[in-house]
């Protein structure tokens, strides 16, 4: 019974997601068709983007709840909505955004090379990445967790992989994949890496692997879609603050994004973005994380 209800909710959520996206487009075409010329400091990134009235944003196309390019051909999700808030603050209409797919492993490169103007793609802030780029935010704090089959009682946390029998799946070049390597005994026989988490989930369902590990919000998305099959094993064992990636030297732009995020915290648009997207998977939003101005 409950299962059926969940399925219905999920279906409704998917539908609503589509509707919301459409609604947004409609309203934005009304308000922002011409864009606004705001005044920014001369020579700053904000001024350049505002003058150009065009922006390239990197996000994921395969992350339910955060950045998923669905049948409409437009990406939808929390990252996408946050990016839209920032773009709006720059005085650029939403339909002038060019979305660029940025899978985990290319995110630093596209920022450094200038392929995109900023990246919002479940992008964990860490020191190694800060060597090449800079982060605004965080705007959300996730944590790595483990997805297992509903009837599995043998995996209780990352330590369950230490005896060398349980097999775990993650995505090439991602932080969770690197993190879980600390726990598995033999990478060759215990770790499977694919290019998307969908494949990991299918492998878990088919029984080729015993667990999938990545950030809890992503896993919650899979549970919401198929509550009869999956559950989380234990608590989050890392903290993954999601930030907005910008060029390393571009402190002005970083501060601007931080200001925008704080504004979005207080005027409720941040919470609305969450509720419309990933919030539907049942993850806790909690209090807004304090932005880190370093």
């Amino acid at each position: 019974m409950r299962m059926k209800r969940m399925a219905a909710v999920a279906a409704a959520a998917t539908l609503a997601l589509g509707l919301v996206a459409c609604g947004d487009n409609g309203s934005d075409e009304g308000t922002g068709s011409g864009g606004e010329t705001k005044s920014f400091a001369a020579g700053s990134t904000m001024e350049r983007l505002n003058k150009a009235q065009a922006i390239k944003v990197g996000t994921k196309f395969d992350q339910p709840g955060f950045g998923l390019k669905g049948l409409s051909g437009k990406p939808e999700g929390f990252d996408v909505e946050v990016a839209k808030i920032i773009v709006k603050e720059l005085g650029i209409p939403e339909d002038k955004i060019e979305w660029v797919e940025t899978p985990s492993k290319v995110r630093e490169d596209v920022i450094v090379n200038g392929t995109v103007d900023f990246v919002a793609a479940t992008y964990t802030i860490n020191d190694k990445r800060k060597e090449r780029i800079a982060f605004a935010g965080p705007y959300y704090e996730a944590g790595q967790n483990i997805l297992v089959k509903k009837d599995d009682t043998t995996i209780t946390g990352p330590d369950s992989f230490k005896d060398g029998t349980k097999k775990v799946c993650s995505v090439t070049g991602s932080t969770p994949a690197e993190e879980i390597k600390k726990y598995v005994k033999d990478v060759a026989t215990q770790l499977v890496l694919f290019d998307t988490y969908d494949k990991c989930r299918d492998a878990l369902k088919g029984g080729q692997v015993d667990a999938v590990t990545t950030d809890n919000v992503i896993l919650l998305g899979y549970i919401a879609k198929d509550e009869a099959s999956f559950k989380l094993a234990g608590e989050n064992f890392t903290k993954e603050p999601y930030g907005i990636g910008v060029k390393k030297e571009d402190t002005d732009f970083r501060n601007f994004i931080n200001d925008t995020l704080e504004k979005a915290y207080s005027d409720g648009s941040w919470k609305k973005a969450w509720d419309d997207t990933a919030g539907k998977f049942g993850a806790e939003l909690g209090d807004p994380p304090a932005v880190n101005r370093y």
Partner: protein, 323 residues
């Protein structure tokens, strides 16, 4: 092929035909039973045949049908764009490389008489060096997986501050590999021509370059046309590697559809059918061209030319098979 078959065994008599018929029927029944128990039943048990999974792909009445096919259409268009650009640039670059290698080869044999000794030695050394360098490049790019070439282009170019759209990374990656293969096809086509062709050209006073351009290259193109068309099939298949660098070709779009609808097996099955249909018609075209060419030769009454070496023909078909 049919000629070869008919000489391998006798035309079956009535008894043999009966046996064949009976055993074919038995085998067909066995296959059907096997398919049912090994493929259909397990898939059915896992609910892989439900209209929920297949509907968006095959049922025009489904709410998502037109959305899904719009997306697949975009993917096919992008695949074709990348394939056409790649094959055109591969042909151009490949021809240039082939001509360059042939020219360099004749240069290395030249003695540069009439020039001061050091200059002639310098020139000979230079041509030998250039010839070695081109040979090295050809060997290296022929020996690397296309996946790696595409990946290197997409990661390496930006490293040196050169950035394009993903489409161009894919096209450049495919061109690097396929132009080298095409160059080798053309070169061996030119070298496989009867020696009299080049000799006659030299006798009427054509320069080596003119000989290549006016005598050798056109003939090599003609002989190698089927192999070149087969290479097109290879390129078309290779564009599917675009998913590595997030180029939105058919397979990548398929991945996005799977993300929305959760029907991987069904989507991949449809994509497989699409690829097979397009590539099958292309290889049929190659066969047709080959038939026409050989017929054309016969009716013209010219002596049969040396067929291209078997190795190269199959290399054209397979070495690039890189997916």
């Amino acid at each position: 092929m049919s000629q070869q078959n008919s000489v391998l065994y006798d035309v079956p008599g009535p008894r043999q035909r009966r046996i064949t018929l009976i055993s074919s029927v038995v085998a067909a029944v066995l296959v059907l039973v096997g398919v049912y128990y090994l493929i259909y039943r397990p898939l059915d048990e896992k609910g892989q045949f439900t209209s929920e999974l297949w509907g968006p792909l095959v049922d025009p009445g489904n709410e998502n049908f037109s959305l899904v096919w719009d997306r697949i259409g975009i993917g096919l268009k992008n695949t074709l764009i990348a394939a056409v650009l790649a094959i055109i640039s591969s042909l151009v670059v490949g021809t240039l490389i082939a001509v360059l290698r042939i020219q360099l080869k004749s240069l290395t044999r030249r003695r540069f008489t009439g020039l001061a000794t050091p200059v002639s030695y310098l020139l000979r050394g230079l041509s030998v060096l250039l010839s070695a360098v081109t040979r090295f490049c050809v060997e290296v790019f022929r020996g690397l997986p296309v996946v790696i070439t595409i990946f290197f282009v997409a990661r390496g170019f930006p490293e040196f501050g050169i950035t394009f759209d993903t489409l161009w990374y894919l096209v450049i990656g495919l061109t690097i590999y396929n132009s080298v293969v095409i160059a080798e096809i053309l070169r061996s086509g030119m070298e496989g021509l009867p020696g009299g062709q080049a000799e006659a050209a030299a006798a009427i006073g054509l320069s080596p370059f003119q000989t290549t351009r006016m005598i050798l290259l056109p003939q090599a193109f003609r002989i190698m046309l089927p192999a070149l068309i087969s290479q097109l099939v290879v390129v078309l298949k290779d564009t599917s590697l675009g998913f590595i660098i997030s180029y939105e070709e058919t397979l990548n779009i398929g991945k996005q559809i799977i993300g929305a609808l959760d029907n991987p097996i069904q989507v991949y099955a449809v994509i497989a059918v699409l690829f097979i249909a397009v590539n099958y018609s292309l290889s049929k075209l190659a066969q047709y061209v080959q038939r026409r060419l050989s017929r054309g030769r016969r009716t013209a009454g010219t002596p049969a030319q040396n067929p291209p070496p078997a190795a190269l023909m199959s290399q054209a078909e397979s070495s690039g098979q890189g997916v």
